[in-house]
């Protein structure tokens, strides 16, 4: 069957009506991958047998009277999320051949909701990058223009959705890794508030910033997936005990009466004028639909990228220390000593960008430099957080571009890491602030490349965020 235009919602409807079975639906996804992924390279591994087995079980459950929004729905999984018995390479040579011994909490929750694990998607190695070119195995193409990047680091997930080889996917977002590829590929991407979704079993990049989130075709699908993922987890002490609201119920509210803030620091020269045209148009549309547009200021925005690259790399330098060749992962042949084992295994296993960030993170934490870098970055992070607290007194959500440009050409930014880092300028503040953030498509450039707008909400403000996202989505359709 053709799954190209199916969403979680419409597929669930088809399953409920017995228009098709989960096995047929899953086979449809597998066939689509077979046909199209040779060009796109969105997937690293596909466990067809395992997926069909899960689909069979879901069909049996449905036959026995069970129902659920995700029962029998295939979901693609970013290759950084552990699923028992499956590879979890993080697109790194370091973990080539590694088979995970346990389920991440998000995987366990999808499993208990009856979802089918459709395949593992490509990414930048250890989620470090914005173009999915830093994968040790292959680089993924943007389905809208194969010569362009899909964004990253969850580029495989976004490209699979855009190519019609996935209905929906899980991504992770440390500094924009869900939102920016969603924007580049024309999908919806939600980074939940820090603490909303468990990180247990998600290979850590930067622990205080990482969040798992849905990547989907519609805002409603994002709400459905978040519903299954969200909530406190005894395995992750940083998850919040705050009650999980009914996200889907929040979608209907519309834009009328809501205050949308425009932070002036995000409307700056340097953003592609064509991107700005679509953002301005979206703002006008929201205003026409009854939203109140408010000008606000986030004065410490200019420090965000620097702060992010200090904190994220510092945490990464410790998080990635465990890849040492002792217990699992790549181990160099015939080391001469234990330190030789470490040095060679890591030199051989990690790619350039990962090494660059480990070195950076090690440096900012080292004795004599800690106060000047990590210490100051933590203080600046507090100021950035306070900026948001102040801004959210004046508005319900903030609206900004996701990225300064639409998808760029493959190879264009790989030689200049700093240029690539600056592409994260609009997305990293949400992670530093622990906010929730949503990327929604808002138009196409003349080159037929998608442009996304970003909505930012206060921590645990997902219901309002999704309401605005869904309201805007309805205006466009």
């Amino acid at each position: 069957m053709n799954i190209e235009n199916l969403t979680i919602c419409t597929a669930a409807e088809g399953l409920r009506k017995r228009a098709f079975s989960s096995v047929e639906l899953t086979q449809g996804v597998l066939d689509a991958i077979q046909q199209k992924d040779g060009q796109i390279n969105a997937y690293l591994t596909v466990d067809a047998e395992g997926a069909l087995k899960q689909a069979t079980a879901a069909d049996a459950a449905r036959f026995a009277g069970q129902d659920g929004d995700l029962l029998g729905i295939p979901i693609a999984i970013k290759d950084i999320i552990n699923v028992e018995g499956q590879p979890c390479t993080c697109a790194s040579k370091m973990l080539e051949g590694y088979v995970s011994p346990y389920d991440a909490t998000v995987a366990a929750r999808l499993r208990s909701a009856g979802a089918v694990f459709a395949g593992r998607t490509n990414m930048d190695e250890f989620a470090m990058g914005s173009s999915t070119e830093n994968s040790a195995f292959k680089s993924t193409c943007n389905p809208h223009d194969l010569s362009r990047v899909p964004g990253g680091s969850s580029g495989g997930s976004a490209a699979a959705i855009a190519a019609g080889t996935a209905l929906a996917a899980l991504g992770t977002d440390t500094g924009g890794s869900i939102r920016q590829p969603a924007s580049f590929c024309g999908c919806v991407g939600l980074k939940p508030s820090y603490g909303r979704v468990s990180r247990y079993g998600v290979t850590a990049y930067a622990s205080s910033l990482d969040q798992v989130g849905p990547m989907t075709k519609t805002v409603e699908d994002a709400a459905i997936l978040l519903q299954a993922l969200a909530g406190v987890d005894a395995h992750d002490g940083t998850t919040s005990p705050a009650e999980v609201p009914d996200y889907r119920a929040a979608l209907a509210g519309g834009l009328k009466g809501l205050r949308i803030g425009l932070p002036k620091e995000y409307f700056i020269d340097g953003t592609d004028p064509e991107v700005m045209v679509h953002i301005r148009k979206a703002i006008d549309d929201c205003a026409k639909a009854g939203a109140e547009i408010v000008d606000v200021s986030l004065p410490h925005t200019e420090y965000a990228t620097a702060v992010y690259y200090i904190i994220a790399t510092a945490e990464a330098s410790a998080n990635l220390a465990r890849f040492d060749g002792v217990r699992y992962g790549h181990r160099t042949a015939a080391p001469e000593s234990v330190f030789d084992l470490y040095a060679k295994s890591r030199a051989e296993g990690f790619g350039t960008e990962v090494k660059r960030r480990i070195i950076l993170g090690t440096y900012v934490l080292s004795s004599g430099y800690y106060d000047a870098y990590y210490g100051r970055a933590q203080k600046a992070r507090t100021l950035i957080r306070q900026d948001f607290t102040t801004a959210f007194k004046q508005c319900d959500v903030l609206l900004t571009p996701v990225a300064p440009t639409a998808a760029y050409k493959r190879g264009e930014a790989t030689d200049d890491p700093l240029k690539m880092y600056l592409g994260d300028i609009f997305t990293v503040p949400a992670n530093l602030g622990g906010l929730c953030a949503l990327s929604v498509p808002c138009g196409m450039t003349h080159d037929r490349l998608p442009v996304g707008l970003q909505l930012l909400g206060p921590a645990f403000g997902e219901p309002t965020l999704l309401r605005v996202g869904a309201g805007y989505e309805r205006l466009r359709s």
Binding site: C88, G201, H235, G237, T238, S317, R322, V338, S367
Partner: protein, 476 residues
């Protein structure tokens, strides 16, 4: 030139929890290598730590016992270093905001009591154990992630003897509070020893040398003794000392250099982002405080007053919480004036049985009620002393109550004067030679007759009464 010694101790104590510090793996000692392990304590990708509440409680209890201030907001940090004994290649510890601050222990020295201040107590995870097998080494992660609290003293100790007194006192308090078994063979208590010496009159401390990771008191004593001698020799011979870390080699009986300050690790500590800060309310701390046992030193003084026992007795009894509890339970069941007699019974008879059998008081069948009844029977002269002492091993082995045994076996003391008179006359009649001796002035011969009468009564006679009757009969 006289040199003054300064010692500070960093003591790692394994907490008595059922599970590891950051995961739910068992802490059973002596299991097959790498059987008590999971993705968390093996540092698998994506695994996250969750702090053990019981370990936090036990650390706070220790802090309260040692007079520390409890930090209501404390945090964990990562200490980064590469070594196979640390699965994540960083250790989760508390660097900037430990659970307990300040406090101290009073030790006894030849110059009187001395307060050894504590700098802080922090909570951390233990490393795995590395076993060396000739050409290769193996890591046993069973121990990895064991909850450890590190008690850091101020450099207030002036000799290796004071260091011993401090460790003994610390061990006693921690075992008393039930926070650790402090079992040295199982490595429950390990210390790093910081030693420096300086010429008398110099106010600034000398160059500090740290001796790492020793798990016997004997080793600590020997290492400190060696190190003081080594440093004194160096200074008296005009040699400079370097700040360094050394290890104790018990076979060679010497300390050996591991690394100098220049080669010290840069641990790149930073706040552990995977764990939220530990927040403790005043109510929680108060609740834990109310569950604390009495400190041995306070208990000693109270027991002296309450039971009228000498300081020595009170000290011996208070040493071990179980013994003191047993003594007090027994003494409370006896007449108030019997305190010293109960203490004699416990310290002489019961402790002898404990040492002969190698049992702890909790593991034998004797109950405080049985011991109290036995002492009361003897005091009321229902049975005599030797009978009471004969009954004790049986009560210790098999349990039961002494009164029932005495009645069943007719062991009651004979205090009937007419019955005893007959025995006295019998003894005198059959030993005329001794009667002559007595009359010739050998008063000690009376003892012989007492013995004879005791024998005739099958040991049940009241010896005091017999003595009086014998003396009266012989004088006639």
């Amino acid at each position: 030139m006289k040199y003054l010694t300064t010692i500070g101790l960093e003591t790692h104590v394994q907490l008595k929890t059922a599970t590891k510090m950051f995961c739910s793996c068992s802490l059973k000692f002596g299991e097959e290598p790498n059987t008590n392990i999971c993705p968390v304590c093996l540092g698998y990708p994506g695994a996250l730590p969750v702090a053990n509440r019981e370990a936090i409680k036990l650390t706070v209890l220790s802090g309260l016992m040692l007079g520390c201030t409890i930090n209501k907001h404390s945090t964990f940090d990562r200490k980064n270093y590469f070594y196979p004994d640390m699965a994540k290649d960083y250790q989760i510890t508390q660097n900037t905001h430990p659970l307990c601050l300040g406090g101290g222990i009073t030790i006894q020295t030849p110059n009187g009591p001395k307060l050894i201040r504590i700098n802080h107590i922090h909570l951390e995870e233990d490393a795995a154990k590395i076993n060396h097998y000739g050409q290769f080494s193996g890591v046993d992660y069973n121990r990895g992630g064991t909850p450890l609290m590190e008690i850091v003293s101020e450099p207030d100790l002036s000799s290796q003897d004071e260091a011993m007194a401090y460790l003994q006192a610390l061990k006693q308090i921690l075992v008393y509070a039930g926070v650790s078994d402090c079992n040295l063979e199982e490595g429950n208590m390990r210390s790093d020893v910081n030693v420096s010496i300086r010429p008398e009159g110099q106010t600034t401390l000398g160059t500090k040398v740290e001796i790492k990771n020793m798990n016997t008191f004997k080793g600590i004593y020997a290492a400190a003794t060696y190190e003081i001698a080594r440093q004194t020799y160096a200074l008296t011979h005009g040699k400079a000392l370097v700040q360094e870390t050394r290890r104790w080699d018990p076979d060679a009986n010497e300390t050996q250099s591991m690394r100098s300050k220049e080669n010290a690790h840069d641990y790149r500590y930073f706040p552990e982002p995977d764990l939220v800060p530990i927040a403790l309310s005043d109510e929680q701390i108060a609740e834990w405080r109310s569950s604390l046992p009495e400190l041995p030193s306070a208990r000693r003084i109270r027991m002296m007053e309450e039971y009228g026992i000498p300081e020595y007795d009170a000290g011996v009894l208070a040493d071990a919480r179980e013994n003191a509890d047993f003594f007090e339970a027994t003494a409370r069941l006896c007449e108030k004036q019997l305190g010293k007699i109960v203490s004699n019974w416990f310290m002489v008879e019961v402790m002898r049985l404990l040492s002969e059998t190698g049992k702890a008081i909790g593991a034998c069948a004797l109950t405080p009620a049985a011991l109290a009844e036995l002492i009361t029977l003897a005091d009321q002269r229902v049975i005599n002393g030797p009978t009471a002492k004969e009954l004790l091993p049986e009560l210790f082995e098999k349990g039961g109550m002494p009164k029932a045994l005495v009645e069943a076996r007719g062991l009651g003391q004979v205090s009937d004067t007419s019955a005893l008179e007959a025995f006295v006359q019998q003894a005198i009649a059959s030993n005329p030679k001794s009667v002559e001796d007595y009359k010739a002035g050998k008063k000690a011969a009376a003892g012989y007759f007492v013995g004879q009468v005791m024998k005739l009564s099958k040991g049940k006679a009241d010896p005091k009464l017999v003595g009086e009757l014998v003396a009266r009969a012989l004088e006639q």
